[in-house]
Every structure is written in C-alpha cells, then in structure tokens.
C-alpha cells in the first residue's frame, strides 16, 4: 500500500503490457466485432483520471471529499461555455473570447477547476471529519443548483456541444482518435501523479493521513499541504470533466450531482484506496459492471449495490488488494 513499493521495477513490466493492450484495444475491438468496446474504454479512461485525482485526497491525504463531482462538472461546463460563446461569437463576460480548440479548453478547464478547488478547499479544510464530508457536499450542491438555474447555459437540460473541440492535425469526430487522445492524456496524467506521490510532497501527504499531529509537530505547514493536494485533485477532476464533455458532446448538471461524487468514490474504493492504478482499475470495473448489468436487466443498480456492499464489508482494500492476495496464495 505504501507509495514507494507501488512503482518498483517489478511492476514496470505488467504496466507496459497493459499499455500495449490499451494501444491495441481499438483494433481488437474491430477484429472481434465488438466496436462498442472503444467507447467503453474511453469512458473508463476519463473516469479513471477523475477517480485517480480523487484518490490523491481520499487515499493519500485521508480527506473524504464528497463533492468532487463539482470539479468534474466545472471542467465539463468550461468546455461547454467556451464552445457556446465560440458559436455565438460573443465573448464571455465581455472580454473572454469563446473557443473550440482543445489545446485551449483543456488548460482552461484545469485552471478554472483549480481556482474553484482553491476556494472550496481553503474554506472546507477548516473543518474535519464528518463536517468536512458535509461541507464539500454542500459546495458541490450549491454549484449543482447554480448550473440548474443558469438558463443561459441550458439550465436543467444541460448544454449541447455540437462538435467536439478541435485538435490540430487530428479528426476529433472519429471515436478511435478520441480514444487515443484520452489514452495519451491518461498515461501522461498517471505519470505526473506517480511523480507527485513519490515526491517529498507525496510522502508528507501520506504522513498527514497517518498522523496529522505528528506532521505538525515536525513543523510542517499541514494545512498548506492539504490545500495543495486538494487543488491538484480538483484540477485532475476538471481535466476529466473537460474530456467527458468532449466525448459526450454534452455538459449537464448531472455531472455535478452528488451521486456522481458517490460514484467516483465507489470507483476509488472498488479499485483500492491509496494506490496509483487502483482507481483506474476501479473505474474499469465500475463502467464494465454498469454496462454488463444494464444490458441484462434495467434493475442493474440492485446488483451494483450488492457488489458495493460486498466489496466494502468483505474485501479490505478493493479489487487490487484482492488480486494481490490471490497472487500471493497462488
């Protein structure tokens, strides 16, 4: 579970194998005739980015945020709002021109969600425990209702993005291209995250989770560390939201709904709290389960609930820990 053992060379080979498999995935999908696999995998990658970001505060920092869907939604709406102003040709707030360029909208989404995370984090981190859970939920709910009431940007119905953002030299209307773009970003993101986790900053963060008092006693500014982690985590979720808005060509208040925050937490815990690849694995399990169960029965949530209950009550550390235990037994 410690971050240091996470990325030893013994783990490098399986990681490369998984990466090769992911690169080959669209071709495998075509070969087997199951083309929906590519879009499914795109969703897994996007949710994986969001869940991995949440995991930075949840698993490494020990801060249970129940409002991370807010940043996911803000990322999505940044893309949607910039696109709307681009098509209408009128600048946002009178001076920010709209755009449909991915190279601008993605950084914009990251910056905007980072700013929101800074504000929400600075206020929320003054509390702790159950109050922290509830205050993050409260801020997410406020933003949810704000977007519901903003008629200019679709209100309740959401904002339709007629065409995905453009990336020079690539045809972003092609699903396979979108998949590879998401894959590249996800890999990059995982690399950055692994650097952060193994850095001094990451170690301090883990230390804070284990004993905040001890870290403070050493003389470290505990709250600044927590806030920075919260901001990075919010930025990651914003990035995922921006990708999702491009993938769905739609941004709606549903992205900020509290059940979305719950789903992100479910992905983290399914995969394994406080591990680098756990959240990606969890996102994969969640999305695949969701689409499998929903193709069998419309009451798929019943099955999901049972599985969730089982994972929480009987597996300590999610699917990744379960795999690890099986591997050790074999």
């Amino acid at each position: 579970m410690t971050p240091q053992t996470e990325h030893s060379s013994r783990r490098l080979l399986p990681a490369l194998a998984v990466l090769a498999l992911l690169i080959a995935l669209p071709y495998l999908a075509q070969a087997t005739g199951y083309t929906a696999m590519t879009t499914l995998a795109t969703r897994v990658l996007i949710y994986g980015i969001a869940a991995a970001s949440l995991n930075l505060v949840l698993g490494y920092g020990g801060m249970v945020s129940f409002g991370h869907a807010a940043f996911f939604g803000i990322g999505g709406y940044t893309v949607g709002i910039l696109y709307q102003h681009y098509t209408l040709g009128e600048p946002l707030f009178g001076f920010i021109p709209g755009t449909n360029q991915l190279l601008i909208t993605l950084p914009a989404a990251i910056v905007v969600s980072g700013l929101f995370a800074a504000a929400i984090g600075a206020l929320s981190l003054r509390t702790g425990g159950v109050q922290f859970i509830m205050i993050t939920l409260a801020f997410a709910q406020m933003l949810f209702f704000l977007f519901v009431s903003l008629k200019t940007y679709g209100g309740d119905d959401g904002l339709i993005i007629r065409r995905a953002n453009e990336l020079p030299g690539l045809n972003m209307r092609d699903k396979q291209t979108v998949y590879y773009v998401c894959l590249a970003i996800a890999v990059l993101f995982a690399l950055v995250l692994s650097r952060i986790i193994r850095s001094r900053f990451g170690n301090v963060l883990s230390g804070i989770r284990q004993s905040e008092k001890r870290m403070a006693a050493i003389g470290l500014p505990v709250n600044s560390y927590k806030l920075v982690a919260f901001i990075i985590s919010g930025m990651g979720c914003g990035l995922a939201g921006a990708l999702m808005a491009n993938f769905l060509r739609f941004a709606s208040p549903d992205m900020l709904h509290w059940t979305k925050s719950g789903e992100l937490m479910v992905m983290v815990i399914l995969g394994g709290v406080g591990t680098l690849f756990g959240p990606f694995l969890g996102a994969a399990v969640f999305i695949v389960l969701e689409s499998l169960l929903s193709s069998w029965t419309e009451n798929w949530q019943l099955g999901l609930g049972v599985i969730l209950l089982f994972v929480v009550l009987y597996t300590q550390g999610g699917v990744q820990a379960l795999l690890g235990r099986l591997r050790r037994r074999a």
Binding site: T127, Q131, V148, G262, L309
Partner: protein
C-alpha cells in the same frame, strides 16, 4: 400578512418533517459514529408501506401502523446486517456501504411498486382547513403534521432527559467508550436507537405521502437536506437538530416563496424564476457552509 403567516406555517411544517428525520440521524451518528446515508431509504420505505396499506385497507390508522412496522423492521435489519459491521470503520467505508444500501432499496422498491409514483389522498377526518386567525384558512392536515412533530419533539425531550435510556443515550453521545467500559449493553442500546430513528423516519415518510408524491428517490432528496440540518445543529444533539430543522425549514420555504418575486423586479420573468429557484435551493447549503466556518462543530454542540 396572512400569506406571510401561511408561508411561515409551511416552513414550520417542513421543518418538523426534517426534524423527524434528523433526530434519528443525529442520534445514530452521535452515539454510534456511523454516517447512515440509507436513512432516507427508511423514510421511503415508511412512505411506500404506509401508503400502500392505507390504500388497500382504506384505513389511515392501519397505514400508520404499517409504516411504523416496515420502517422499524428495515431499520433493525440494516443495523443487524450491515451497520453493525461499520462501527469501527472509517467514514469512507460507511458512506460507501450505505450508498450501496440506497441503490439496493431504490431498486427493490422499483421492482415491487414500479416506477409510477403512488398517490394518496388526505384522510377524510383531516381533510379541509380551519381558520387559525381571521382571514387565514390553513389545511388541517398540515396543521396535524406540525402538532405531531412537536409532540414527538416533546416526547424525545422527555425520553432523552428524564429516563434511564435517555441518560445512556446522552452518555453515549458524549463518550462512547466510557459507557461501554461501565458495563452497559451497548449493542442493545445501538439497536434500540437505530430502531427508534427508523420509526421516526417511517412516520415522516408516511405523513409526507399526501403532500408530496410517494416515489423512488424521495429519500435522497430529503436526506441531503437532513444532513445539512444535523451538521448545522451539531452532530449528536437532538436540541440542535430541533432548532436547526425549524430554522432551515422556514428559511428554505421563505426563499422559495419570495425570492423569485424579488428577482422579478430586476430580471425578466422566466429567468427570475429559474435563478430564484436555483438560489433558494442553494440557501440552506450556504447557511451550512457559513455555520461550519464560524463554528466547525455546529451551532448546538454540547461542551463546545
């Protein structure tokens, strides 16, 4: 003026409903340290069971009994099968396990009753309205809810402050381990408290039936609001939950009633309505955020 008074009464009525839910939630959290997201499901179960039985038998009274029985049974089952395993766990596990319970209950209810909301009419005795002050006709049913809620609050006050069980509950919410160390059968106490909370949630759900539609998802809607009440009032404090429920109930109802009208002075009609509705929904969360920033443990937290 009468309109204002009517809105205030509506606010109190909503507040009383919130209190019935918040009382159980705050006790469960204060004493057992468990965040129970499935508390809203108990409210839904009470509503469905009561409404269905009342519809089948034609008796409102049997409906109440049915709601009590179903909610208490479900509550004790949840405590015995799931929550009992979560006492020592961290909040994350509790949130996720009870989130799983919500999914299970929602889908089970959908399987049994379908997706169509159930509708139930106000029982004949409580139908109609009475004139409280000259010129203000207020529905008898809503008035009954207020009275029932206040009676429950008074009963809880007596139970918590004047009985032996209440003493243990208070002791438990102040220092759990000490109570356990003194040889109290804490597991029985836990089950009792959980069952009591479930009972009140079921009552609230059943009474909500004739006012709001009985449908899947009704539990989550009110659950989040209830959590706001619990946190504002101070986790574990019944007194805090009571005042916070009434305060937030009145504020929420007042904002919904008057904000769109005020905004219409500055904005176009439809936009004012949408923005007004949005901001009024945000109101209670804003209050919670402010309260937490000033008093991180809530307004009525004992010994703080």
């Amino acid at each position: 003026m009468t309109l204002f008074l009517e809105q205030m009464l509506n606010g109190v009525q909503f507040g009383v409903m919130l209190f019935l839910l918040a009382a159980g939630l705050t006790l469960v959290f204060g004493i057992m340290g468990v965040i129970n997201l499935a508390h809203g499901s108990l409210y839904m179960i009470g509503a469905y069971a009561g409404t269905w039985i009342a519809g089948e038998t034609g008796s409102f009274l049997l409906g109440i009994l049915g709601a009590f029985a179903a909610a208490a049974l479900a509550g004790v089952a949840i405590e015995y099968l799931v929550v009992r395993r979560l006492y020592g766990r961290d909040h994350l596990d509790q949130v996720l396990a009870t989130f799983g319970l919500i999914l299970i209950f929602n889908q089970t209810i959908t399987l049994i009753f379908g997706r169509q909301p159930l509708f139930v009419s106000v029982p004949a005795i409580l139908d109609g309205s009475i004139e409280i002050v000259p010129g203000l006709e207020y529905p008898l049913y809503r008035l009954t809810i207020i009275v029932v809620g206040l009676l429950v609050a008074a009963g809880l006050y007596l139970l918590i402050n004047k009985t032996r069980i209440g003493m243990l509950v208070r002791a438990g919410s102040t220092n759990r381990d000490m109570v356990r160390a003194l040889g109290v059968d804490i597991r029985l106490l836990y089950t009792l408290v959980f069952g009591l909370g479930a009972l009140l949630a079921g009552l609230a759900g059943f009474m909500a039936g004739p006012i709001m539609a009985v449908q899947v998802g009704m539990g989550e809607q009110i659950l989040i609001t209830t959590f706001v009440v619990v946190v504002v009032g101070g986790v574990g404090s019944i007194r805090g939950a009571f005042f916070a429920s009434l305060f937030l109930g009145v504020v929420d109802t007042g904002l919904r009633a008057y904000l769109p009208g005020l905004l219409r002075h500055v904005l176009a009609g439809s936009e004012a309505d949408a923005l007004g509705a949005g901001i009024s929904s945000m109101g209670i969360y804003l209050i919670m955020a402010i309260v937490l920033l000033i008093r991180p443990k809530g307004l009525f937290m004992p010994n703080s």
